[in-house]
Amino acid sequence: MLRALRILTMLVAGIALGLAVTWATAIRGTMGGNIDDGPWRTSLNVGSSESGPYLRAQIAVHGLLALSREETLYYTAARDSEGQTLVGNCSYRIEGRDPPARWWSITAYADDFLIPNSADRYSVSMNSVARGPDGSFAVTLSKTQAERNWIPVTDGPFDLTIRLYNPQTSVVADPANVPLPIIKRANCE
């Protein structure tokens, strides 16, 4: 009887621990990567047969059907430029210039889906962003409406993805030093 109980305990503990490690290493969080560029993180092996089992599982969970680097590079940020977690009860300014790609967009997600809002606004892109006279732009992430370049967010953690479609060769050559926008926390409730 005691032996059967020990076997059962061993099985349950082993299965629970194994699944917990898979959750912690592949399911929890957001799109993974091993290359940091400020608050942004990416991998050159997304969508590629070269991706290892951990990246492959992360992409399946958080970025299924992502294109390989020849077509698109995805940078994701779950923290601002000071390292604080992005949360909807704070507002943020994303400041920068056009990244070196044929086309780009910045999109906000919560739990890997677009964030519901009455304005049906989810992103800014190369086509839609309003720029200053010097070509720079500032995007506002907030719950309350901003005058221009506004991406609405709601309470709770969220993250951002920059898509670089047909990136310039310099991006793939040195993905940790791409001139991507900074993310500045403005104020919090």
């Binding site: 061993m10 082993g14 621990l17 290493t25 059907l65 077509e71 677009l114 989810y122």
Partner: protein, 179 residues
């Protein structure tokens, strides 16, 4: 106490390692199969779907881009008796691409508007042996017999939505019959 239960603790760690590796390796394919099952509720394999522009209500595939129109097809080479023809033509002047993913999430083929040049993409998806092909279409070897074909079309201007939505309906993903 610990010494007495040492073999049971070691056994639990061994089982944990096996469960971790197995679940990690199976997870991508399980997610692809689940996604294909969800899509099968709307259309059978080798049939293209044209879902609405992504919004917060879009829940089939994670992290969609709200700036793109997607058309999607589950390819099944066995159900198609060997080959599936994938094509699109008369595409307007905007970024578009057609990409193909195997059951392990690998993006093993992609073609965009600049590479297609003439606004046309037209190829066969097949398993290793090239099918009889009188039209001399390029053949793309699929690593797995089932997977996903995805068309992306950039909505460069909201005013062009109707034009772009009409254009993507030229897309084809269907069993290929030679001759």
């Amino acid at each position: 106490m610990i010494a007495r239960n040492c073999k049971w603790i070691a056994g639990a760690f061994l089982i944990a390692a096996i469960v971790h590796v197995t679940s990690l390796l199976l997870l991508p394919r399980l997610i692809v199969v689940r996604t294909m099952s969800v899509m099968a509720r709307s259309a059978s394999a080798n049939t293209i779907l044209h879902p609405p522009r992504p919004s917060a209500r879009s829940r089939t595939v994670v992290r969609p881009s709200p700036d793109l129109l997607y058309s999607i097809c589950v390819y099944d080479l066995r159900a198609a008796d060997g080959a599936v023809r994938v094509s699109i033509h008369d595409m307007p002047d905007t970024y578009w691409s057609v990409s193909v993913f195997d059951a392990d999430t690998n993006n093993f083929y992609a073609l965009n508007d600049r590479q297609a040049k003439t606004g046309v993409a037209d190829f066969l998806l097949a398993e290793s042996a090239a099918p009889a092909n009188d039209e001399r279409l390029p053949v793309v070897a699929a690593p797995t017999s089932r997977g996903i074909v995805l068309f992306r079309i950039l909505v460069s201007d909201d005013a062009r939505m109707a034009e772009l939505d009409a254009a993507r309906r030229h897309a084809l993903c269907a069993p290929y019959r030679a001759g």
